[in-house]
C-alpha cells in the first residue's frame, strides 16, 4: 500500500477573474521507502499540490479528490486535529521559500524546538527537556551542514543569509524524524557543493531510516541522481508518471519528451553546439487555460481530439494522459 495516495485531486481557487481549476485531476502517489520526484515548469502547480497535502491552503479554496490517503486513511475527511497529528510526527514539509516559512519574530531555536515532538525526548523533568531539545536541534543542524549552531540558533531569520535559512528549514523538517519528507525545491539557488551535501543527506536518510521523499524540483540533474520514480506536472495536470528509468528511456507523453530533451545532460547523443530542443510558447496563465489537454496549443502532436481531456492510460505501472502518445510511432 502506498504511503501517500492521491487520485484526481482538483483544486479550485478564486482569483480576480473567477474560480479556476489550478489543479485538475492530479494523480500522485508515494510508496514507502520511495523517492518520488514531482517535476514541472514553475507555475505548473507543484507548490499548490504540496500545500494541499499538508492542508495549508486558504480555507475558502475548494479541494476535492477521489482519494487522498495517508496510510489508507483519508486526509480530507479528517478533523484538523487528526491532520495536524500526522503532520506533527509523520510528515514534514520544507516550503519553497524558506524565509517566508520562518516566523520573523522568533529565534530559530524556538522554532526548531516546536517541531520536536515529545515522544522523541527521554522521560524527564521539563527543565531537562529543554536541554534535550537543544541537543537534538544541534545534531540536526550539523547534519545539514550548519557548523556554527550557536549563532544560528540564537539568531532571528533576517539576521542569517538565505542559504543558511534554507538549510535550517530542512533541518527543522527532519527534526521530527518523519516517515515522509515533502521538500519543495529544497536545493533552489544553492551552491553546487552545498546542494550535493543536502542531496547526499536525503539519500542517506532514505536508505538508512527508510524515509520516503516527495522531491519537488525542476532540477532534472538532482532528480535523476535521487529519484526512484517521477511524476510530471504540466499546468495543473499530471501528465505522466512512472519509474524514473522507464520514463527516461521512453517517455510517452510529448511534454515529458520535450522536458527531457531540453536538459542537455540527459542526452548522450547530443553533438557539441547543437541547438537545444524546446517547446514553442510558454505555460498558459490561469485566466487563459485551454480546454481539454492543457498542452494542446503547444503540443507538436495535437489533433482535434485533444480538446477532450485525455483519460489516464497505463502500461504496467507507467501512467500517462495523452491521446497520441509517442510509443505509437515506434511500435
Amino acid at each position: 500500500m502506498p504511503l501517500l495516495d492521491i487520485k484526481n485531486l482538483t483544486l479550485e481557487i478564486d482569483t480576480s477573474f473567477g474560480w479556476v481549476k489550478a489543479l485538475d485531476k492530479v494523480n500522485l502517489s508515494v510508496d514507502t521507502k520511495e523517492v518520488r520526484a514531482l517535476v514541472g515548469e514553475s507555475g505548473s502547480g507543484k507548490s499548490l499540490i504540496v500545500k494541499s497535502i499538508i492542508g495549508a491552503l486558504p480555507e475558502r479554496w475548494k479541494v476535492t479528490a477521489d482519494r487522498m490517503n495517508w496510510k489508507g486513511k483519508d486526509l480530507l475527511s479528517m478533523s484538523d486535529n487528526q491532520r495536524r497529528a500526522i503532520t506533527r510526527s509523520e510528515m514534514s514539509v520544507v516550503f519553497q521559500n524558506p524565509l517566508s516559512a520562518l516566523d520573523p519574530s522568533a529565534t530559530l531555536e524556538e522554532q526548531i524546538a516546536e517541531t520536536i515532538p515529545d515522544n522523541l525526548l527521554d522521560k524527564g523533568w521539563f527543565w531537562q527537556r529543554r536541554a534535550q531539545r537543544h541537543s537534538i536541534a544541534v545534531a540536526q543542524l550539523h547534519k545539514v551542514g550548519i557548523r556554527d549552531h550557536e549563532l544560528c540558533l540564537k539568531s532571528y531569520p533576517h539576521q542569517l543569509p538565505e542559504d543558511v535559512c534554507q538549510k535550517f528549514t530542512i533541518a527543522m523538517a527532519l527534526a521530527s524524524n518523519p516517515r515522509l519528507l515533502i521538500a519543495d525545491n529544497p536545493t533552489m539557488g544553492m551552491e553546487i557543493t552545498t546542494k550535493i551535501q543536502i542531496l547526499r543527506l536525503l539519500s542517506k536518510l532514505n536508505k538508512t531510516r527508510e524515509l520516503s521523499i516527495l522531491f519537488v524540483s525542476h532540477d532534472l540533474l538532482a532528480i535523476s541522481a535521487m529519484a526512484d520514480s517521477m511524476t510530471v506536472l504540466y499546468c495543473g495536470q499530471s501528465v505522466e508518471s512512472g519509474k524514473m528509468t522507464q520514463i527516461r528511456k521512453r517517455p510517452l507523453h510529448p511534454y515529458t519528451k520535450a522536458l527531457l530533451d531540453s536538459a542537455p545532460s540527459f542526452r548522450r547523443d547530443l553533438p557539441p553546439k547543437a541547438a537545444l530542443h524546446c517547446l514553442e510558447g510558454t505555460i498558459p496563465t490561469l485566466q487563459h487555460l485551454p480546454i481539454g489537454c492543457r498542452l494542446g496549443p503547444r503540443c507538436p502532436r495535437a489533433q482535434k481530439e485533444c480538446v477532450k481531456m485525455p483519460d489516464v492510460r497505463r502500461i504496467h505501472d507507467h501512467h500517462y494522459a495523452c491521446h497520441f502518445p509517442l510509443h505509437r510511432d515506434k511500435a
Binding site: R84, A106, E114, T115
Partner: protein
C-alpha cells in the same frame, strides 16, 4: 543602535529648532507690530519700545534676534497674553495638561477596546463576527467627531440629563492646580469632598472621552484586523500549523506578536491625530484645554498666545513622535534596521 539614537536625537533637535524659528517668523508674518506680537504689550511708548527692541535684540540684525528669541523661549519667557495680561508660558502649562489628559484617556480606552476587537475580527475573518465588527468600525470611522460630540450632548446631557456637558469639574469643587491633570490633582489634594469631586470630574470626562474614542477606536480596530488577517495568511503560520501546533498555540506564539509589532508605530501615531481631534472636542465641551484656549486667542487676535500655543502643540507632537519611535526600537530591535526616520 548608537547611530540610530544619534540620528533620532539629531532629528529632534533640528525639528525643534525649526519650529522655534517658525514661531519667530510668525511674529513678523502676523499683522501689526512685530514687537507687540512678540511681547504682547500693545502700543508701547517710546521708552518701553527701546527696552523691548533691546530685549528681543531686534536692532542687532536677524540672526542675533533669532538667537535671542531661542534663549527667551528656553527661559520660559514666551511673552504676555494680550487678553489676560498673564504670561503665555504659564497659560500654556495650565491648558496643555488638560488636553493631554483628555487624549491619554481616550487613547487608553481606544486601545483597550480596539485591540481585542480587531484581533477577534481578524481571527474570524469572513465570519459573521468579523462582518459585524467591521461594519461598526466603518460607522465609527465615518462619523465626524464634532457632530458625534454634539449628538452626545444632545442625548446624554440635554435629553437624559445624566451627564454634565461642559468644563472639567463642577464649580462647586475648588480643585487646587498642581499637575494640571484633574484626576491626579484631586487625588493629591486634601480637599473636603474628595470622593464626590472625583466622581464629578469623572462624569465630566465621560462624554468628551467617548466622542474621541469612537473614531480612534475604529481606526485601531481596522489597523489591527488587517494586520492579523495578513499574518494569519502568511506561510509561517501555515508552517506552524504543519508542525502540528493547535490553533491557540499558533495564535499566541506566532500570530499576535507578528501582527502587533509592525502596527505599533501606527498605533502610537494615532495619538497625535487624537490630540488634533481633542482640540475640536474641547471647544464643544468647553474643556479648558489648549484647543479651546487657542480658539479664544484667535477670536481675539491675541497673537502672542496663538504663536505660543502653536509652538507648544507642535513641540508636544514632535517630541512624542520621536520618543515613541525610539522607545519602540528599544523594545523591538529586530524590526528591519531603519536608520533614517520614516514618515
Amino acid at each position: 543602535m548608537l547611530v540610530y539614537l544619534g540620528r533620532r536625537l539629531n532629528l529632534l533637535v533640528i525639528t525643534l529648532f525649526i519650529l522655534c524659528a517658525g514661531s519667530f517668523a510668525l511674529a513678523f508674518l502676523f499683522p501689526g507690530d512685530p514687537l507687540t506680537n512678540l511681547s504682547g504689550l500693545a502700543n508701547p511708548d517710546e521708552q518701553l519700545r527701546q527696552q523691548l527692541m533691546h530685549k528681543y535684540a531686534l536692532d542687532q540684525g536677524f540672526f542675533a534676534s533669532l538667537w535671542q528669541y531661542f534663549q527667551l523661549i528656553f527661559a520660559g519667557d514666551w511673552g504676555i497674553s494680550m487678553r489676560s495680561g498673564s504670561s503665555v508660558f504659564e497659560e500654556v502649562t495650565r491648558t496643555l495638561p488638560a488636553s493631554i489628559e483628555l487624549s491619554v484617556y481616550a487613547m487608553v480606552l481606544s486601545l483597550f477596546i480596539g485591540l481585542p476587537l480587531g484581533i477577534f475580527s481578524g481571527l474570524s475573518h469572513r465570519k459573521a463576527l468579523d462582518r459585524g465588527i467591521l461594519s461598526f468600525s466603518l460607522i465609527g470611522y465615518s462619523v465626524p467627531v464634532f457632530w458625534l460630540a454634539l449628538l452626545m450632548i444632545l442625548v446624554f446631557a440635554l435629553k437624559l440629563g445624566v451627564l454634565p456637558m461642559s468644563d472639567r469639574v463642577s464649580l462647586l469643587y475648588d480643585v487646587p492646580l498642581n499637575t494640571g491633570f484633574v484626576l491626579l490633582d484631586i487625588l493629591q489634594s486634601d480637599m473636603e469632598h474628595r470622593e464626590a469631586a472625583l466622581q464629578n470630574a469623572f462624569a465630566h470626562l465621560i462624554l468628551p472621552t467617548l466622542s474621541l474614542t469612537v473614531f480612534t477606536c475604529s481606526l485601531i480596530v481596522r489597523l489591527t484586523r488587517r494586520s492579523v488577517i495578513n499574518v494569519m495568511d502568511s506561510d509561517y503560520i501555515k508552517a506552524a500549523y504543519a508542525k502540528g501546533m493547535s490553533r491557540s498555540e499558533v495564535v499566541w506564539q506566532h500570530g499576535l506578536k507578528n501582527a502587533l509589532i509592525p502596527i505599533m508605530p501606527q498605533l502610537v501615531m494615532q495619538f497625535t491625530l487624537l490630540m488634533t481631534n481633542a482640540m475640536i472636542v474641547e471647544v464643544i465641551f468647553s474643556w479648558p484645554g489648549i484647543g479651546e484656549w487657542m480658539i479664544q486667542a484667535i477670536y481675539q487676535r491675541d497673537f502672542p498666545s496663538i504663536r505660543g500655543g502653536m509652538l507648544a502643540v507642535s513641540v508636544v507632537v514632535v517630541s512624542f513622535t520621536i520618543s515613541m519611535d525610539v522607545l519602540l526600537k528599544l523594545l523591538y530591535p529586530l524590526s528591519k534596521r531603519q536608520l533614517h526616520a520614516q514618515v
